[in-house]
């Protein structure tokens, strides 16, 4: 199975690898997946309190190249979006952008889950109710 050029590029030059201060109120952290399943993603967003715009996003991922690329791409897309806009990111957008084969779709689902988990963490921290969405099949 050959990887798409975009996956290779994200793998070789991942964007926004790192850690944000999770104790801060305007930082939301999502940790999804499991080591036994072969992928764990941690995605963090830092939200501008005034504008509600995501001003920074970071990730760390344990997983295959497609998982790393999906999370790297997600952080790129998150920056500059409002939290509501971020909530609308769909895993199939990631599949399309990275040209993921069917066996790798679960990587994109995991990235979407990580985005939503980070947003919910941010919401809960700021006294907002968690947004519940139907779980997608992995």
């Amino acid at each position: 199975m050959a990887y798409s050029d975009k996956v290779i590029d994200h793998y070789a030059n991942p964007k926004n690898v790192g850690t944000l201060d999770k104790s801060k109120n305007n930082v939301g952290t999502g940790l999804v997946g499991a080591p036994e399943c072969g992928d764990v993603m941690r995605l963090q967003i830092e939200v501008d309190e005034v504008s509600g715009v995501i001003r920074d996003a970071k990730f760390k991922t344990f997983g295959c190249g497609s998982a790393i690329a999906s999370s790297s791409l997600a952080t790129e897309w998150l920056k500059g979006k409002t939290v509501d806009q971020a909530m609308a990111i769909d895993n199939m957008d990631i599949v399309e952008e990275l040209n993921l084969p069917p066996v790798k779709i679960h990587c994109s689902v995991l990235a979407e889950d990580a985005i939503k988990a980070a947003i919910n963490d941010y919401r809960v921290k700021n006294g907002l109710p968690e947004l519940v969405e139907e779980k997608k099949a992995h």
Binding site: Y11, E36, C37, G38, V40, T61, F62, C64, G65, D113
Partner: protein
């Protein structure tokens, strides 16, 4: 010596054919094309002579008599013929087979098939070092047991089972002993008499011969063993495996065996030295572990888990230049990591983090040095982006986290 790229370190999957083997084969595709079963003309005689000679070369490598070699299409067919053939032939004696959980799928799935047709199979677990427990083995034997099927050397870990001890137990209880010798034959000395083997499957393409040909060794004396054929037809191979012989491939198989016979001693020393160098070079990394006992191992195989990085992601860092394989299942649709590593008691996380290095005849020291550097660099790079590594560094116990399993 200059470095040749890409580097092939997946010799447990298949080996490149030795050019000397190809040279031996070539005439048998064109001018010497006869059917070895054609008894009435020179084309047939030439082919038959070539097969006879190859049969001697193959037999010699394992200390067998040429009449004890049944040519097949490969080790999978030989595994099937041995297990199904014994099950059918010895049905009046019993219906119980003992095998172990780290066997190749060609053995495990054949045993599963036996169960679907009414047979009984015991799948022995292995210990953390990958070896079967001999006391467990002996305890599993019942009056209905007809066959013990335990592999010689494991394809993923390289662990070599205590073959002589197993065969002694089998003998003591009057049970036949079959071993899948695919990874071991040609790499380490295998002698069917000294080792007490009654049946053994092996294959040419794991020892620098062509794909599509293998053999089943079937003992003819002390005891005389017979298998029911699984392929019926012209009665080739003493009635145990019908089908026109693949003469060029058999010639190549013979040549490959002869080369292994002549070069094994020096080659296994060279490879184990290179393997140890590779292993030592990689074990300087923190949280890197060898899977399977280092004491009883094939000389060319190393299986190492690099904790907190995932195997497929790891391979992607260097797969343009280095070909090897991983116990991670990310490449397969099942998402299940290696059952062999899990049988050794590794958690799924460590199985996902494993790489298998299979060195071979054409592996050079320069390639090993390059591999050490490339793998190390990628492990360090991926750990920098691994949330698990960060948690480990912070002293967080990953087992205590409630992961969202998907």
């Amino acid at each position: 010596m200059e470095l040749n790229l890409p580097i092939y370190l997946d010799n447990n999957a298949t080996t490149p054919m030795d050019p000397r083997v190809l040279d031996a084969m070539i005439p048998y595709f064109t001018e010497k094309f006869g059917n070895a079963a054609s008894r009435n003309h020179s084309f047939g005689w030439v082919a038959e002579e070539a097969v006879d000679y190859a049969r001697e070369q193959v037999a010699k490598l394992i200390g067998a008599d040429p009449k004890e070699i049944i040519f097949t299409s490969g080790a999978t067919e030989a595994d099937n013929l041995a297990i199904k053939g014994i099950y059918e032939m010895y049905a009046s004696k019993g219906d119980h087979i003992i095998t172990c959980t780290t066997e190749h799928k060609a053995v495990l799935d054949t045993c599963k098939h036996i169960e679907t047709i009414g047979g009984h199979v015991t799948y022995l677990p292995v210990q953390a070092d990958g070896l079967v427990d001999l006391a467990d083995l002996e305890k599993a034997i019942t009056p209905k047991t007809i066959l013990i099927a335990i592999m010689y050397g494991n394809n993923e870990t390289g662990v070599i089972q205590p073959i002589r001890e197993i065969s002694q137990i089998a003998r003591k209880h009057g049970v036949l002993f079959f071993t899948d010798g695919t990874q071991a034959v040609g790499k380490v000395p295998v002698d069917v008499n000294a080792d007490g083997i009654d049946l053994m499957a092996f294959s040419a393409h794991k020892m620098y011969g062509p794909k599509g040909v293998g053999a089943l060794y079937v003992r003819r004396k002390n005891p005389r063993v017979k298998v029911t054929s699984q392929m019926d037809g012209g009665g080739h191979e003493r009635g145990m495996r019908s089908g026109t012989l693949n003469v060029p491939a058999i010639v190549g198989f013979g040549k490959a065996c002869e080369l292994c016979m002549n070069e094994m001693e020096a080659e296994s020393k060279r490879l184990s030295k290179l393997r140890d160098k590779l292993e030592q070079g990689l074990l300087v990394l923190e949280e890197a572990y060898v899977n399977g006992t280092p004491e009883h191992r094939l000389p060319h195989t190393a299986n190492i888990s690099f904790k907190y990085v995932e195997g497929e992601g790891l391979m992607m860092g260097f797969n343009k230049n280095i070909a090897l394989s991983s116990g991670s299942a990310c490449t397969s649709a099942s998402l299940e990591p290696s059952y062999v590593l899990k049988a050794l008691g590794l958690g799924d996380d460590l199985a996902h983090s494993s790489l298998r290095f299979g060195l071979g005849r054409f592996t050079t020291e320069e390639q090993v040095d390059y591999t050490i550097a490339a793998v190390k660099e990628t492990v360090l790079k991926l750990r920098e982006m691994s949330p698990l590594w960060e948690m480990f560094q912070e002293g967080i116990d990953l087992d205590k986290i409630e992961w969202a399993h998907h």
